[in-house]
Structure formats: structure tokens, C-alpha cells
Amino acid sequence: MSPDVMAIQSADAAGRSWTEVLHEWVTTVDHKRLGVLYILYALFFLVIGGIEATIIRIQLMRPHNDFVSPQVFNRMFTMHGTTMIFFVAMPVLFGFANYLVPLMIGARDMAFPRLNAFSFWLTAFGGVLLYFSLLGGSGLYGAGNAPDVGWWAYAPLTSRAFSPGHSSDYWTIALLASGFGSIGTAINIIATIISMRCPGMKLSRMPLLAWLNLVMSGMVLLAITPLSAAQLMLLVDRYLGGHFFDTQAGGSASLWMHFFWIFGHPEVYILILPCFAFMSEIIPVFSRKPIFGYPVMVGASVCIAFVSMSVWAHHMFTVGMGSYANSFFTITTLAVGVPTGIKIFNWIGTIWGGKIDFKVPMLFSLGFLIQFLIAGLTGVMLGSAAFASQLSLSYFVVAHFHYVIVGGILFALFGAFYYWYPKITGRMLNESLGKLHFWLFLIGFHLTFDLMHIPGLLGMPRRIYTYEPGRGWETLNLLVTIGTFVQGIATLVFVANLVISYFKGAKAGNDPWDAWTLEWSTSSPPPAYNFASIPTVASRRPLWDLKHPEDPDSRYE
């Protein structure tokens, strides 16, 4: 940290009232502050979504439980799914992208700082609208409050006849608002990566994190927009008496399914690509080797993006699309496994023969690798139309996608938190609490989601609020619920670690992990302008070149 940086920061911190600080944060257009806002906002909703999950699991703990009513149960799984996807996973990943992309490509901010703030606040108010439905959803009809149509809101559940009041409208408008926010951020990330790279940062030298966020943003442009279009149609149906999804007037319920899943399946890849990005940064640093097969990693990511745009109807094998459509979507779905497999092999290739450092970020990364592989294998099973016809709408499906989202995405995110927390706050997260968090979460995760496959195979349907005793589901469901509590405790350990380390953690310094990308070349936390002078790079690992002038990477490129 250069002396002038120190002086500016200490002058900043001195003598401001909390209203001034609040005003600064609300009106900020700095990509780092917006990134932090995104992340904090997502963590807040993670707790809410987690509480909803816990309510669902308590209700299913034993047969004929009456912890909540069937109506409340429907609202809980709808709000849990919607919250976790749109107001936890998307914002937290956008938060990391916002924070890291400009730093990693040597830029001072995003391409459009004000659009960045606008997008964040759109997303934020989207979440507020969704939860305002608890107060305003009943409308004039005195109907139920929070949305209860499921996170995919199939027609005709959302028609006026079956969803009176305003709960579905809050759901629709919340998703529309946050969708426009996502599109704004995606445009911003792409423009930043294309137009703001520092001298020498060719596309072929860009960190994989930037590459994967570029691909992810491209997917957002093409995949979130169909959802926005479908939401507009739903609003036309509900407010203007339109007939898009009104089967009584010749409309089609399955058209909604198509439109929803044209969004819904690429969405999974929109969430997982940034997690691949975290892995591609963390695994090399903790294996002390450069990433194995950089160009292939980029190619595989683009390939995943392309193929994943044509797999959506594997969510609809039981709709009755006919054997040709089923075969087509089976083939494309299984094809996604190829580039994804390439990525897993490349991460293993990076670890192979490396000097592995089992710090917490690496532990979470290894957890990710193994769990994501298993999630991919059940995905291949469900991707086959014949198999999916047996297990569609069962707990096997629920177990599969939670394996992807918790075992894959959440583990990668925890890894990212431990890896970049020192950069964001200037202090290290506590290593022992981190290990406790990892092991507790690992045990809780496997207790919940490994066992959840079995009731599915035994025929337990998803979205039922209770079940009969004597079907062999009781013990398994009880253990699944216990696993949920273990995960909850582990998450509390994580939150405690975030708070304690912010005040008492060891000072991080600029580069605590001896890493190679540009964000570690500036101070922790970085100054508002990121870099005192814009850096110039000559290889994929600019900090390696700086630390090893006798043997720089640039010599081999």
C-alpha cells in the first residue's frame, strides 16, 4: 500500500456521522461498494430463504405433521424457490462479478457505473416487492397473501380464477423488476470486459473468472429476457383480460412451460458458470500450479452456454411432447455432460502433481468438485426421457437440483467468500472457525441431500405437505430434517466468522494467498480508484511475472 493511499483512506474514515456514511452507500456508483451491497443483500435473503426451507423440513419431519397448514406450506416452497434463485444466487454472483471483474482486468470501474447502481436497486426493490406480498397480497378478495403457485408458476394456477388477489402479481412484478436489473448488470459486465481491459490484457490473457462472467452475461441476455417476456404476457392475461395462457379461449398452458424453461434451464448454467469461475481461480492458487488447459476451459464454457440453450424441454418429458422431441432433448441434455466433464478433468489436471495447500477455500473447492460430479451424474440419469418419466416430480428431482445448487453452487460460493474476504475487508477469515464451518456443513449437506434421493426412488412426490405413515419414508425424512438443522448451525458459524473476523481477524495485506491475478496487486480493501496507475500485463499471471522477473510467464506465451 503506497503512502498516498493510506492518507486518503484515513482522511475518509475520520469524523463522519452515520447518516453521511449511509448516504454514501445509498448513492454510491463504485463497483466495489455495489458488489458488497449485492453480497450483503443476498446474505440477508439467504437467511430468509433458509428459514423457509427449515419450515418446509419441520413440516415433513414426521407423517401427519401439522406444523403449518397446507396453504402456508405452498407459500413456503414458492417463496423458498423464488427467493433462493432470484434474490440470493443471482445477486451474490453478480456481487462477486461486480467486485472482481474490474479489478481482475485492471480497470478503475465498470463501463456504466450509474447503470450499475440502477440495476442493483432494481433487483433490491424486486426482493422488497416479493416480500411486500405478505402484507399487500390479499387485495380486495381476502385471498391468501404470499405467492403460492410454485417457483415455476404453471398455467392455469396463475389465472385469475385460481389465483385471486394480488399474490401472483407481486411474484410477477418482482421477477420482472429483478430481471431488468439482471439484464442491466449483464450488459455492464460485457461492456466492461470488452471495452475496459488494461493494456496487454488480451482476451487470451484474461483471468478465467472474467471469461466465465462474460459467457454468463451473454447467457443472461438470451435467457432472462424470455422470462421477462412471459411475465409481460402473464400481466396482460391477469390485468387486461388476455388469453395467452387461458385454455378456455384456445390459449396454451404448455406454452408457458416452454417459455419458463427456456429461461429456467439456462438459468442453472448462469448460476454455475460464475462458480466454475471461482474454482478456476482458487484451485490453481492452492495447488501452486497454473490452470491446466486454459484455452480448453474457455472453449468448454462457451460450448456449455450454446448447448444449454437447447435443453429446456427436459423439464417437460411428462407433458407429452412426442418421441421425437423427447429424443432431441435427451440427446442435447446428455451432450452438456461432455464440456462439463472436460472442465472437471482440467481442474483435476490442475491439482494433479501440485503442492496442495488445504486451506478453507481449497476444502470447499474439493467439496465442490466431488459433489458437483455426483449432481451431474444424477442429472444425466434424469436427462434420459425414459428414466425421467419414472421419477419426474419426485423427491429424487428435488435431491438432484439441491445437489447442484447447494453441493455445487453454495460450496463454490463459500470457497469464494473465504478466498476474497481478505481483499474486500482487509482481514482474514478465521481458519479454525472456517474448518468447523466446512466440516459441519459437509456433514449436514450429505445427511440431507444424499438421503433425500431415497424417498424419491420410493415414490415420494415433491410439494406434498404431508404423507401417510408406513411407506418407509419416515426415518429418512426425519434424518433429512436433522441434516437441515446441522446446515443451519454451520451457516451460523459462517455468519459469526464473517462478523468476528471483520473486527478481530488478522490483517491480510495485499496478497495473503501469494496469488497471480491483478486484484491482489492493489491494497486490501482497494482504494476507490482501484489502481494508482493503470497496470500493464504481458501474460495470464501478471503477479507471477512481477514476483519472478527471472522466469516470467510472458516468456512462454
Binding site: R108, A111, F112, L115, I183, A186, I187, N188, I190, A191, T192, I194, S195, M196, R197, C198, P199, G200, S217, G218, L221, L222, A223, I224, T225, P226, S228, A229, A230, L232, M233, V236, D237, L240, G241, G242, H243, F244, A249, G250, G251, S252, L255, F259, I262, S533, I534, T536, A538
Partner: protein, 198 residues
């Protein structure tokens, strides 16, 4: 990109990246295209599926004059941009105004058509599937034309105040990119609604 002019050791001689405004607008156009695609798919999927009348064959009249207006506005905005690049502000402003007039004429045509459909033929958005898909698709396009007209008018106001010069020409280019997109979408909507959909 002015910060990059500081010469550093090993700086590539010419480090020039695309203008962020154009990249951003290109991305917006990609996203908007996806939205329009979904509405076009819905329109085509529901052609001939209405359970009651009126049908497109009975009530639609091809708006050839207003289509020519909108499409020629792409030419006027293009040449307006060219004139601005060369510093000819007067020619820029008059062509820019002409673009707004042509866009406004198109909107007037849409209004006329909707008035006729609603009051003479009783076709409203809730009448049947044709009404729902027709007003949604054409209305979505008309909304984009309106948004474009608002932005063009803002530039016109700044231009009349003498604030738009050569140095703004790359920004004006970004706006004309949007206007070309709106026109291109009309070609698709026209083909789908007035040619294929009847």
C-alpha cells in the same frame, strides 16, 4: 480511455478497444431481440387458434404508407449522423427532425389502425387470442418506437440549444443503432402479422 495514454514499459503500441456505448447498445439489442422472439413465437403459435372472431383476414389492412415512413426514417437518421460527423450541424438537425416526424407519422398510423379495429370491428386485447397476441406484439413494438422518439426528441432539444457537436457524434451513433433496431423489428413484425399471419 484517456488514462491509458500514460506510456508504460511494454505497453502495446496501439491499445484500442471498442467504444463501450456501442458494446452496451449491441448487448441491449441482443436482449431485446430475445424478448421480441418470444412474442413472435407466441403470435405464430396462436395464428388461427382463436375460438371466436374477428380474424386477421377479416379486419387487418396492410399499413404500406406508414411502413415506408418508418423504414425511410432509418435512412434519414443514418445521414443525420454522417452530417454530424462532418460538423454540418444544420443538416444534422433538419434530418434529425425529419426522422422524428417520420417516426411520429408511424405512431399516428398505428393509433388510427387501433382506433378502427376497436371501434369498427370490436377487436380488443381481450376479444380473442388474435386480439391478445396482435396488440401485445404490435404494442410492444410501438412502445419501443415511442421510447425511441422520446430519446430522439431529447437529442433534438439539446441540438437546438447548440449542445450537440462533432464530439458527441459517437454517442448519437449509439442512439441511431437503437433506431435501426426498432426499424428492423418492424420488418419482422410486419412480415409475421400482415403477411404470414393472414
Amino acid at each position: 480511455m484517456s488514462a491509458i495514454t500514460t506510456s508504460l514499459a511494454g505497453t502495446p503500441a496501439a491499445w484500442k478497444l471498442p467504444y463501450r456505448g456501442r458494446v452496451g447498445m449491441a448487448c441491449l439489442i441482443i436482449a431485446e431481440s430475445a424478448i421480441f422472439t418470444i412474442f413472435v413465437v407466441a403470435y405464430l403459435f396462436y395464428v388461427g387458434k382463436s375460438l371466436t372472431g374477428p380474424t386477421p383476414r377479416e379486419v387487418l389492412e396492410t399499413p404500406i404508407f406508414y411502413t415506408i415512413c418508418l423504414l425511410s426514417s432509418s435512412l434519414t437518421i443514418h445521414f443525420a449522423g454522417k452530417f454530424l460527423e462532418r460538423g454540418k450541424r444544420g443538416a444534422f438537425l433538419s434530418l434529425w427532425l425529419l426522422t422524428i416526424v417520420l417516426g411520429g407519422l408511424f405512431m399516428y398510423g398505428t393509433g388510427q389502425e387501433w382506433h378502427r379495429l376497436i371501434y369498427e370491428h370490436g377487436l380488443t386485447i381481450s376479444a380473442n387470442l388474435f386480439g391478445t397476441t396482435y396488440y401485445s406484439l404490435v404494442g410492444l413494438h410501438a412502445f419501443h418506437v415511442t421510447a425511441g422518439l422520446v430519446m430522439l426528441s431529447i437529442v433534438l432539444i439539446f441540438g437546438l440549444a447548440g449542445r450537440v457537436g462533432v464530439e458527441q457524434s459517437h454517442r448519437v451513433d449509439v442512439l441511431s443503432l437503437y433506431w435501426h433496431f426498432v426499424d428492423a423489428v418492424w420488418v419482422v413484425v410486419f412480415t409475421v402479422v400482415y403477411v404470414l399471419g393472414r
